[in-house]
């Protein structure tokens, strides 16, 4: 009875807040706008042509620098080196200087690249490739081998991927899977931080408003704490739901617009579109075939479990301090495991979704909601998911016991900021 009243109040307080409304409806728009902006900027960056001057009086390499979309080479060999440098400094990104050499091997370490800005590793790699290629061919010719034959003899393997069940898998599918898993894991982390902070702020608010003692003369502190956590998590879930619906609509609209565009271009070059659609068509069923049911259900359970676990810690921190500024010192131990979950999860899961590290981190309750969500698209045995959930909720019940003790004492303590040692002492009261 009281619990439902508290849940209702907390839920209303969160949902009626202006920042909730703004965040719920504005952030998907902002997110889309940002994605479009990033895409646009990347394409602008890619369109730029880099102009490079080449000074190669002996003509050893000049033919090997071939213009492409991104780089444009200009031969300045007619000028003297000093003049070429001057000219390159004004109108070009940089100057490749190929000295005249008697022994071709000297080219290996005598080619210079002169520029004001340090070049990218990729660019230098390209120049080195040109030199290496030239010398390799030169060496082969010297040894009397026809390099064209070697080129012809070269092969390019394309391994086909499939599962034991017989269905064919696709390249890049793993990347798509980790992308989806990462999105889920990241969402859980963000929500724990944002909504956990809300729980903490709401506890601090009751303390600073001095209403806390009135409330706990009517209900048990534990009820108040749980009501807060449940009410806030419901506000979070509502936000998810709205986002899911908005996202669905957005996807539908975008899909329609995109579909029209594809139709328009198909008139211009039917082959290209066909290639693109076959690629897309190949991936779509795979994406649809992901264990979405399990993933969404697990997401709800892991979100709730993870949120309950973390927010009970957030609540006890809120109770221990008098103001939000005092809370920073205690927040670090919360943020760390969350970050660890995201990064360890990302790097280990993509390597080997069922490796030891990934599996262990998907069992440790502080990281499991994030890491398990990343593993799920790769197919995790049901018992592992169930075990991870069981550990998560068992830990929650343990932690909430400690948290409620700290909470119970902390909410009636005003004045100085407690130390870890004092908080530990409260556990024994």
């Amino acid at each position: 009875m009281s619990l439902s009243l508290i849940i209702k109040r907390e839920f209303n307080a969160k949902v009626r807040n202006k920042s909730f409304i703004v965040m719920t409806f504005l952030s998907p728009l902002l997110f889309t706008a940002m994605a479009l902006l990033v895409g646009y900027l990347a394409s602008v960056n890619g369109d730029e042509v880099v102009k490079i001057a080449v000074h190669d009086q002996a003509g050893t390499l000049i033919k090997d620098f071939k213009n492409d979309k991104e780089t444009h080479y200009t031969d300045l060999s007619a000028l003297s080196l000093a003049l070429a440098k001057e000219k390159a400094a004004e109108g070009y990104e940089g100057l490749i200087y190929v000295p005249a050499v008697t022994d071709a091997k000297d080219l290996l370490h005598k080619v210079e690249y002169i520029s004001n800005e340090s070049p990218s590793m990729e660019f230098i790699g390209n120049i080195e490739d040109v030199v290496n290629d030239k010398l390799t061919r030169f060496n082969l010719e010297k040894a009397g081998i026809d390099y064209k034959k070697i080129d012809e003899a070269k092969t390019y393997a394309d391994i086909r991927l499939s599962k034991f069940s017989g269905e064919e898998s696709l390249r890049w599918l793993n990347e798509i899977k980790i992308g989806i898993g990462f999105a889920f894991g990241y969402l859980i982390m963000m929500f724990i931080i944002i909504y956990g902070n809300m729980v903490m702020r709401s506890v601090i608010e009751e303390k600073t408003n001095r209403i806390i003692e009135i409330i706990i003369s009517s209900v048990k502190p534990f009820q108040l704490m749980m009501g807060k956590i449940i009410g806030t998590s419901m506000a979070g879930l509502l936000q998810f739901l709205i986002w899911a619906i908005l996202g669905g609509i957005l996807l539908f609209v975008a899909g329609n617009v995109f579909g029209l565009q594809v139709g328009a271009t198909s008139a211009a070059s039917p082959e290209a579109t066909q290639a693109a659609t076959t690629g897309l068509q190949a991936y779509l069923p795979e994406i649809f075939n992901l264990p979405w049911g399990t993933m969404l259900l697990s997401f709800l359970i892991f979100f709730t479990g993870g949120f309950f676990l973390y927010s009970s810690i957030y609540a006890s921190i809120g109770a221990a301090v008098d103001s939000e500024t005092d809370s920073q010192q205690f927040l670090l131990p919360i943020i760390l495991p969350l970050m660890l979950g995201v990064y360890v999860g990302f790097f280990t899961v993509i390597n080997d979704p069922h490796g030891t590290v990934a599996t262990v981190f998907s069992m440790i309750p502080l990281t499991s909601p994030i890491v398990m969500m990343m593993r799920l698209p790769f197919g995790v045995p049901l018992w592992e998911v169930a075990l991870s959930m069981a550990i998560l909720f068992a830990t929650f019940f343990g932690v909430v016991w400690f948290a409620s003790k700290i909470y119970r004492i902390g909410i009636l303590m005003y004045g100085k900021k407690p130390t870890y040692k004092e908080i530990f002492k409260w556990l024994r009261y």
Partner: protein, 309 residues
């Protein structure tokens, strides 16, 4: 009168610090009971135990003869010393919420709220947020949410601190009216004027121990010193002053009268009847003032507390 609240040998410790050392109290039904004591005496600890905010380490508490249990929260109204309300919540919504937490149905809560809003003439505030109200207005709301669920026992911790004189008076009248309707009121304070004014029973707690408890008149009787304040216009001023100080212990007194007579505090030996002094005085001149000096709660408080040091 049968007690509504009995506190029996309650002990509360925080780590090594003893906040309450086997304290027992008995609060009679329908009384206004003053719980007195200096800061840090243990009053708030005791009140929090009665409100079931904390649990005693040992001892028990009976409300209306029943051992204190969670359902009793609906029978107690509590206004803590550290008090406030949700600043961003609307007055009406907030009061309904707090009343429902105390076990009232929404309908009952609304009826009670209408009654009090009418009574205190604050009807227009329903949709205002607390942060939009002045401090005095918020204090009225604070009182209303304390009594909204018609508690049998009202516990007020430093009720007048932070209240302006107008509101303090208003609240005082409401408390007396509630008492007349049968509510028992415990109020905890270290301000003695309000105790003298309102309380019929008192208990004094000092350094975790209860030192005094009883009906206010009884306590005062226990602390009377057979001292009388005397005003006299004597025939021979110097002679009387010299003579009376050989017979009794006297001090300069400071009460107000119309004329410039001799004003003395005269302490009689225990058992000496006052008429003996009066007879002596009437022989010496015109007696203009004669009154037993009744110890104030403040005197008793200071005397007891300083004896303990």
């Amino acid at each position: 009168m049968k007690p509504i609240l009995e506190v029996k040998n309650v002990v509360k410790q925080y780590g090594d610090y003893t906040a309450l050392n086997s304290v027992s109290l008995s609060v009679p039904q329908g009384s206004i009971y003053g719980l007195l004591g200096p800061n840090g005496a243990g009053k708030t600890s005791l009140i929090r135990i009665i409100n079931q905010i904390t649990m005693p380490d040992s001892g028990e508490i009976l409300l209306d003869g029943e051992k204190l249990a969670p359902h009793h929260v609906s029978q107690i109204g509590y206004m803590p010393e550290e008090r406030g309300l949700y600043k961003t919540m609307k007055v009406g919504e907030q009061a309904l919420y707090l009343a429902q937490l105390k076990g009232l149905s929404k309908k009952e809560a609304k009826e009670q709220l209408d009654y009090w809003f009418e009574k205190l003439e604050i009807k227009g505030w329903w949709n205002k947020k607390i942060q939009e109200l002045s401090k005095g207005m918020a204090q009225k709301i604070q009182f209303v949410v304390t009594v909204l669920h018609r508690p049998k026992l009202l516990i007020l911790d430093e009720p007048f601190s932070g209240f302006d004189p107008v509101n303090a008076n208003l609240i005082k009248d409401e408390i007396l009216e509630l008492r007349d309707k049968g509510t028992t009121v415990i109020f905890s304070t270290h301000r003695m004027e309000s105790v003298e004014d309102m309380c019929d029973h008192i208990a004094l707690i000092h350094k975790s121990n209860k030192l005094i408890e009883g009906e206010l008149q009884d306590v005062k009787r226990r602390y009377r010193t057979n001292t009388f304040e005397v005003g006299i216009a004597p025939e021979n001023f110097q002679h009387l002053l010299a003579d009376i100080s050989t017979r009794y212990t006297t001090r300069q007194a400071s009460f107000k009268t119309l004329d410039d007579e001799l004003k003395l505090e005269v302490e009689l030996p225990k058992g000496t009847p006052s008429r003996e002094l009066l007879r002596y005085l009437t022989d010496k001149g015109d007696v203009t003032y004669f009154m037993e000096k009744i110890p104030s709660v403040n005197d008793i408080f200071i005397q007891t507390v300083s004896q303990q040091k």
